[in-house]
């Protein structure tokens, strides 16, 4: 059918069929809006795809701009990696949880560290009091990492570590543990989050100011490109930006803008873009608006490919491929009628699968109440297994392609995210935009508007503002971190300090200091040496704190 004819038939339908019915009976609401506040039309047709060229903007899986997926076969050769984020208490308990998850068919590990570890404090630091082992596992020295990965063959699993400011230290520890298992660094597969920009924006575990932080990050890029070619050197994360309250388009735009800042920083110190870009990875949120989320994932691939080709002149396909992890939205979990969260997680996970994710974490239904139980974690994992094995969602590549609605949303997401990126460019890039408070303000505004929409019931949350019930049942068997963990951890640390050779530790720390002072040295090498001598995370971080100072957040 020609476009002209189609325009006529569409208009005809709109006026005579749809319009007439609406005039008589009205619709459920005056205006239909997506989760990000964009107006949704009653119907999408081929006319919405008029200006989208298939080969240019969509193309085949494994081909630029990778809208349909980064690999030519996607889930037909291998499902996404089922990777549940876990960690609590001490290394021994977490090691047991890891081995349980692997026994249940999980295919990759994901380590949650406690807050002192994430902020570079030892467990005996005054600011660590009450926090040790709470939101993740406590790691002070290499000795803890040895226990954490005990009997887990590091050449067989891939491991993701949610660690940012002290990422070099934890990466060094992982590598040394592997070495002790007889596994060379070039055999190791996994990811460190290592994304400091979103810590300033949304997640809060920063230590140093942006400039030295970027230097630490580019040192990791450089080191891994030489020694750990299978390691994802960063996981550029929209997840926390979304959790902080952004909408889907902001999540996309700010994440890609963060990516641009990292690539620029590495190019600025003289690295060849094709040398490090293939190991950049991404991390997105899966929220409730199914179609927007699918569009967001597809748009992210296309946008990144275009950025890498047009802005950075990347040559290798691998440099242009946006590979990503997804986690379902923690902020969508409700404390009220918590079982409903199982359905929410299922739908969010489906969006990630239809969006072509490389790995996935599904939240447990009881996480708005506390730490998840072993049973609720199992249901979360089973949700992925059901999606993979029973639904057929993984049997053809990018099944949503060609949907008039999803393709039109995908295209719109790319365009609107580009407008944001232009704005950030005008502000001088992401680090500057963060310093100016621009990004934080945008996110806070969205967060507040979302809250208002929930309160005035414009946005329905089942069990919270509609279909509510008097809560009768209390959450049962929530995981409790043993209150003795802190004491034991501090005792363990003391013992390690007694056993190690302090003069060697001091020498190693001195070398970290020298490298920190000199731009042409790579910090990774002396950090690895310090870790081998059982220097603590706090000691190594303190050396860097002395050199670089600490970041102070501005509150708007």
């Amino acid at each position: 059918m020609s476009d002209e004819k189609l325009k006529k038939t569409e208009k005809d339908w709109e006026e005579n069929k749809y319009g007439k019915t609406v005039n008589r009976f009205g619709e459920r609401k005056d205006e239909f809006k997506s989760d990000s506040g964009r107006t949704i039309k009653p119907l999408y047709t081929p006319l919405d795809l008029e200006n989208i060229d298939y080969e240019e903007s969509i193309n085949y899986p494994g081909q630029y701009p990778f809208t349909r997926g980064v690999y030519p076969t996607m889930y037909r050769s291998k499902f996404w990696t089922m990777r549940q984020y876990a960690g609590f208490g001490n290394a021994k308990e977490t090691n047991q949880r890891f081995r349980y998850l692997l026994d249940q068919g999980q295919t990759g590990l994901s380590v949650a560290f406690d807050l002192p570890t994430q902020i570079g404090y030892d467990s005996d630091h005054p600011l660590a009091r009450g926090e040790v082992g709470k939101v993740g596992v406590a790691i002070d020295t290499l000795a803890d990492m040895e226990v954490l990965f005990d009997q887990i063959p590091l050449d067989e699993v891939s491991t993701s570590m949610t660690i940012n400011a002290p990422a070099s230290i934890l990466l060094a520890m992982y590598m040394v543990v592997a070495e002790k298992q007889g596994v060379n660094p070039d055999k190791l597969a996994g990811t460190i989050q290592n994304d400091i920009l979103k810590e300033y924006i949304a997640r809060g575990t920063y230590i140093f100011p942006p400039e030295p932080s970027l230097r630490i990050i580019t040192d990791i890029f450089d080191y891994c490109s030489k020694e750990m070619p299978r390691w994802n050197t960063i996981s550029i994360s929209g997840y926390h930006i979304r959790e902080a309250g952004s909408d889907a388009i902001q999540e996309l735009a700010f994440t890609i803008a963060d990516g641009i800042e990292y690539v620029q920083a590495a190019v600025d110190i003289g690295m060849d873009v094709d040398q490090f870009a293939p190991r950049l990875s991404f991390f997105f949120n899966a929220q409730m608006d199914l179609f927007e989320e699918i569009a967001k994932f597809r748009a992210a691939r296309r946008l990144w490919a275009e950025v890498m080709e047009e802005r950075f002149n990347a040559k290798k396909d691998k440099s242009k491929m946006l590979r990503f992890h997804t986690q379902t939205a923690g902020s969508a979990l409700t404390a009220q009628q918590p079982m409903n969260n199982i359905m929410r997680v299922t739908l969010q996970a489906l969006s990630a699968v239809l969006g072509g994710t490389q790995s996935l974490h599904t939240n447990s239904y009881d996480e708005a109440l506390g730490l998840p139980t072993e049973d609720s974690v199992k249901i979360a994992l089973r949700t992925q297994q059901v999606l993979a094995h029973e639904t057929g969602a993984a049997d053809t590549i990018d099944p949503m392609a060609g949907s008039y609605y999803v393709e039109s949303l995908t295209d719109k997401f790319v365009k609107e995210a580009k407008e944001y990126i232009d704005k950030i460019d005008e502000l001088g890039g992401m680090a500057k935009a963060i310093e100016a408070g621009f990004v934080q303000r945008e996110i806070q505004e969205s967060a507040y508007q979302t809250q208002k929409k929930v309160e005035n019931k414009e946005k329905v949350v089942v069990g919270v503002n509609k279909f509510t019930e008097e809560e009768s049942k209390k959450a049962e068997n929530l995981l409790k971190v043993n209150p003795e963990v802190e004491k034991h951890q501090i005792n363990g640390l003391k013992k390690i300090k007694e056993k190690r050779d302090d003069s060697k530790v001091n020498k190693a720390l001195q070398k970290v200091k020298i490298a920190a002072q000199s731009e042409d040295k790579n910090l990774m090498y002396p950090i690895i040496e310090a870790v081998k001598e059982y220097a603590t995370i706090g000691e190594i971080s303190d050396v860097l704190r002395d050199e670089y100072g600490e970041y102070k957040a501005q509150y708007i």
């Binding site: 600011l127 009450g130 926090e131 939101v135 809060g204 996480e367 507040y448 809250q451 919270v464 209390k474």
Partner: protein, 130 residues
């Protein structure tokens, strides 16, 4: 004119999640209260010092890390030591129900779960202060 109710919204400990804290801070402001937000990583000492200096009527503690079991008693103790246990303390975030009784015994007036409408918190504060 009636004196504005003054609230300190505080983030104790190392927890970096402050979406809730910021949304509540703005909501209370829009409800006509004067609100001070401490920012992240506040020690119990810092929180009590700010509360006393700013002479607030209410402290709202936001925490999602599970460290409330240590931090909240510290804060309540320091408030008492400063003779300011007249300041009403409320809390929100991810705080397991099992802990609520203990926190209330410490003198914390209310623990709000995720999903609580801001208007409920506003009403509670007004009731508590007046």
């Amino acid at each position: 004119m009636e004196k504005k109710i003054k609230v300190l919204i505080a983030k104790p400990g190392l927890d970096g999640h402050d979406r809730g804290a910021k949304v509540i801070a703005r909501g209370l402001k829009e409800a006509g209260m004067e609100v001070v937000y401490t920012g992240l990583r506040q020690t119990p000492e810092q929180i009590v010092r700010s509360a006393v200096q700013e002479d607030v009527d209410v402290i709202g503690l936001s925490i999602l890390s599970g460290a409330h079991t240590y931090l909240f008693p510290e804060i309540m103790k320091r408030l008492k030591d400063a003779n300011r246990d007249d300041i009403a303390v409320i809390a929100g975030g991810i705080i397991p129900e099992d802990d609520h009784t203990e926190l209330k015994e410490l003198g914390i007036k209310a623990v709000f779960q995720p999903g609580t409408p801001i208007s409920d918190i506003v009403d509670f504060i007004k009731n508590e202060v007046n």
